[in-house]
Each structure stands twice: as structure tokens, then as C-alpha cells.
Subunit: 124 residues, 2 copies
């Protein structure tokens, strides 16, 4: 099996929370599998991420554990475990999660967007 086939995760069951739990640092995102030209990534999150937007793609978040708030310049969207939310392309947003007080408070997500052919972040 070539590296490309492995990366695309053909016919393999991927335990999303297990993949997230094995990450040491907050906001360190791990690409777990690709679908067409899209990537699925998992991360453990705590505190504030940076304001940014994606000029060329919508972005999907699925919360696996805990609670994720995504702030917009106007309003916010709160996602709990088992919930999915979409940030439209071009819309500035800032993910945020409360501090982990114990293991039951962890927040982990699976996010997905089109693979960037060039850096498309517009972070402040």
C-alpha cells in the first residue's frame, strides 16, 4: 500500500476521540484522513484560538467531547458533543473552549475543510 493510499485511510475505522486523546498540546491539529481534496483533522482545544478566515472554503466542526464556542464578529455559535457546525468561507471566526478542569472537561473536535494549495489564513 502506497503512502498516498495510507493517508486517504482506505477502508480503515478511525476512532476520532482516540486520535484526539493522543495529542499532547492544545490546538495542535492532526490530519487523520483525506476525502477527495479535503482533510479531516482532530485537536484538543482550550482557551482562545486566533481570529482568522478561509477565503476559499467553508469549514466544518464536529465536537467529540466537551463544548466549543466559535465567536464571530457578530454573535457566536456553541457546539456540544455530537453537534456539527459550519463556518462559511470568508467569515472571520475565533474558536474558544473553557479550561480543562479534569478529564471530563476536555474539549476535542474534528474539523474539515478543503486542502489549501496555498496559505489562505487571514489571521490578525
Amino acid at each position: 500500500m502506497s503512502q498516498k493510499e495510507t493517508t486517504r485511510g482506505q477502508r480503515i475505522a478511525i476512532d476520532l476521540l482516540g486520535k484526539a486523546a493522543s495529542i499532547d498540546d492544545f490546538w495542535q491539529q492532526r490530519v487523520i484522513v483525506e476525502m477527495n481534496d479535503y482533510q479531516f483533522k482532530v485537536a484538543r482545544v482550550e482557551g482562545d484560538f486566533i481570529w482568522h478566515s478561509h477565503a476559499d472554503t467553508d469549514e466544518t466542526f464536529i465536537v467529540l467531547e466537551g463544548e466549543l464556542r466559535i465567536d464571530f464578529r457578530e454573535g457566536a455559535m456553541t457546539l456540544r458533543a455530537g453537534e456539527l457546525g459550519i463556518v462559511p468561507k470568508g467569515v472571520e471566526h475565533k474558536p474558544y473552549a473553557k479550561e480543562e478542569k479534569d478529564s471530563a472537561d476536555r474539549t476535542a473536535w474534528c474539523r474539515q475543510h478543503r486542502r489549501h494549495t496555498k496559505r489562505a489564513h487571514g489571521a490578525e
Copy 2:
């Protein structure tokens, strides 16, 4: 807010299992949201679906509850709750889930693939 914006689920938390639970019939798939030119669908499943393939797109399955087996012409992939699996484009497959004996045995999934511009199923 236009219909198109509503369909794309902008900034709305979607309870995946709740959406699946509200479906009456097995294999009746409901489009819950779109991301770029992709659709997310949920379904409750039991027994055998048909053999088919998608000529133009990979397909992603995320199991929300229960256990889903996807048969291939050679081998199979079993996905449990919280697991994600990808069926590469062009690969024949047949989803299968055991009968629901009680509510704890339900199988529900969220699946995603590129929106078809024409019918691309190759069902037997």
C-alpha cells in the same frame, strides 16, 4: 435569511443523533447541511443496503450510535460509534447493520460526499 443560506446551516449547531432519531424509516437519508459542494446526510440503518459505488467521489461515514459494517467485494470495514471510515471513489460497497432489538441497538450514521450533478450510482 434566504433558503440557500438556511440549507448551508450557517452558524447553527446541528445535533446529529437528534436529526437521525427523528427519521421514521431505515435507509431514508436526510440532508442536514451543506459545506461547499458537499452534503452531510444522516440515516438510521438496519439490514442490508444495496451494492453500489460512486464514480466521482469518495464517501465518508461517521457512526453516531451502534455498529455499521461496510462490505466490499473483498473484505469488510466495521465502524462503531465515534468512528469514521472512507470508501474510495469507484469502490463497490454495501452497508449493513444488525437488526435493532431495542433502542440501545440502534445504528445511525452521518455520511458525506460531493453533491451529485447527475445520478452516479452504479447499483446492481
